[in-house]
């Protein structure tokens, strides 16, 4: 398992409820790909959302995000953490 940070752009105006619902939609199906979405952070003004996950691959992360209705614009493995 590796850690990934994925980024969504164009989420301007996202609310706390919408972020929670999007995260719940991921959590509901993440196990089918062996993914776990650990945390997400959103800036409603610029529309950027960051999601931190553990997953077998970036493709697995994207498959869950796509099925949940919010494809990521970037997905980076982040093997280094401090």
């Amino acid at each position: 398992m590796a850690e990934f940070m994925d980024v969504h752009h164009d989420m301007r105006g996202i609310t706390a409820d919408q972020l929670r619902q999007a995260h719940q939609a991921d959590l509901a199906i993440e196990g089918e790909e062996g993914v776990h979405f650990k945390q997400a952070w959103a800036d409603p003004d610029s529309g950027v959302v960051y999601c931190l996950s553990e997953a077998p691959s970036a493709e697995a992360v994207q498959r869950i995000h796509e099925r949940a209705g919010h494809k990521a614009d970037e997905i980076h493995p982040v093997p280094l953490t401090v």
Copy 2:
């Protein structure tokens, strides 16, 4: 205090030691601006580094990063977290 996610590009090839040293350089002076750098994640292949902090402002985050020798390319407040 608010949370911020800042992003550094062009850190290709960064090592675990370099990430740790950069983070330590931030921690050593962060108190002077009331900032706390909580965590950082790096992708040596694409060269992107994400830093999560608590701070009074994005400008305070940038002042610490600049003084520590690694100015951020983007700094986003992330008022929503899940």
